[in-house]
Symmetry: C2
DNA sequence: GTCTATAAGGGGATAGAC
DNA sequence: GTCTATCCCCTTATAGAC
């Protein structure tokens, strides 16, 4: 039975990066001190600069990974020629709820930092063209040529991602807690596709 | 013909606060330097501490306002006894899209900072109880007793708020630009209620 | 109330020993 | 490769003149 991650290869470099992922994700770039990362990694501050030259460079490596994790898996599903529109929707919803449940802070982190600095990775990916030429959007246009696909896409992703962005607020207000949040997100795997299909038919 | 804001009463205190709103909203608490605020306000750094004691206190005043702006107008609409469920949905959508269009950074700012620190204003508001006892939720339960209202509420707000949270990313990817974003949001005032109604009927 | 000057400390980065 | 000690700039906050 194969495991996804070996026990702890944990080179020093990887220990620092892992600590950086944790601290940056929780506090964001500005509020993070390199000293926090060093402590979390159980190493000395100097080593951080030895391996990564600067806070900025370390951050960019982490950020790149996280952008990839958030956006990189989208296009393959949208272009899977085997799947109907409904199946793609189910796939996207299910996949993203799984990914985000395992990384609840991911969307807040990426979307927030993306708003503060320009990351060329995103700009150069030409996501707009890739998406608008995707099989998903073609199927969507065939089904509803009166509907701007952007509206539909934003709405589906709003239903998927927004709960995670609003999660701290939901905890604070008592609308939910850690345990029931997980249950809610699991329920949404079935619910959101049902609603998406209803939206496709609505005039 | 009455104007909403008088030209510029602009006491020094208000100039500082206005500058603080601007800078904090754009950069967040940690990345904001009091020097930035002082410069933006056209005053000296010392005056900031004279009027507000510390960066933290100034931030809390701004934050309180912003939380109020984002959450404070919700409950009145949800409890308006005159309105049907459908009318409430239309009212919420239309109201929030107007507010957020005038303050596009508001949701990212509030949700992000809320995740970093605990603001007692939010905790003490008992939003969960107020909402769950609202006329809106009662009507929702009557219509669909098989549906957890939280799912519906998250989804509607996802469709309303998520575009604003994802706005920087949408600009970066070229999915939209400042001008077409405004048009999109206006279209959504009609579209989201239509979809919400379809969701209410979907089984 | 508003300014200039400065104290006090935080935080990123490096020198240099081991 | 890893550590300790330190540099030095940046930032918040205050003292004190006007």
């Amino acid at each position: 039975m194969a495991k996804k991650k070996i026990e702890t290869p944990a080179t020093t470099e990887e220990k620092i990066k892992e600590a950086a992922r944790k601290v940056f994700m929780r506090k964001g770039f500005s509020a993070t001190r390199t000293r926090d990362i060093a402590e979390e990694a159980g190493i000395n501050l100097a080593l951080l600069n030895y391996y990564f030259r600067s806070k900025q460079r370390l951050f960019e490596e982490v950020m790149q990974e996280k952008i990839q994790k958030l956006l990189g898996t989208l296009v393959p599903i949208m272009n899977d020629a085997e799947l109907t529109l409904e199946e793609k929707i189910e796939g996207i919803v299910s996949h993203y709820i799984d990914v985000l449940s395992a990384n609840p802070d991911l969307p807040m982190f990426v979307l927030n930092e993306l708003g503060k600095n320009n990351f060329s990775i995103v700009k150069n990916a030409n996501l707009d063209k890739v998406i608008s030429q995707s099989s998903f959007v073609k199927q969507l246009r065939e089904r509803r040529n009166d509907l701007n696909p952007v509206h539909f896409i934003i709405s589906i992703f709003g239903m998927i991602i927004f709960p995670f962005v609003a999660r701290p607020m939901m905890f604070l207000t008592g609308m939910t807690n850690e345990k029931s949040f997980i249950l809610l997100m699991n329920e949404r795997k079935a619910l959101v596709p049902v609603w998406a299909k209803a939206m496709l038919k609505a005039k």
